[in-house]
Symmetry: C2
Subunit: 112 residues, 2 copies
Amino acid sequence: MLPPDLSARLKRDADGLVAAIIQEAATGEVLMLGWMNDEALRRTLTEGRVTFWSRSRQEFWRKGDTSGHRQVPLRVRLDCDGDALLIDVEQTGAACHLGTHTCFTSDLKITV
Amino acid sequence: MLPPDLSARLKRDADGLVAAIIQEAATGEVLMLGWMNDEALRRTLTEGRVTFWSRSRQEFWRKGDTSGHRQVPLRVRLDCDGDALLIDVEQTGAACHLGTHTCFTSDLKITV
């Protein structure tokens, strides 16, 4: 269980999830965004590995167990309204399942 | 309306929203996470200002209209599965409504 004082601060969506932004500590690059329920956050804070809740597969997903591309959490911060986490990680290999270092590879056109 | 090819790539949650990570271009600091529906994204891509959808107030929220703390989008990227945006911005003043530069001010304890 998460500590009750922490649990009380989370503002979960309808599926019981908060967003987790993964930022590479060494470079400042934002690598991906995942989702966490209370138990995924608890594991992330206590296991030395980032664990998400997979919305598509409806199961826990400890990053790197299949791919080897582990994420070690170095710092975990909660935002002011409790619906988002920012996690500084040490990333092994590619963060994206498509093999790129970051999941944010598609530029959208700004037309002002 | 969003261009149909872009609209088709978005993976919205039950409320029709995607997550939008705001990163300060000059520093690499992650400032906040907001939510966008199709129209908020369209405005962000075409108005030179970041616009969110406020989940709590259920209305569009163009950052800085009340506070003066504007966000000018310099680069907008979509992630591999279409449920998250990464937006590099030029931030005026504090990004957080509590007056801090970033919304991520609360460190959670890692116990490994």
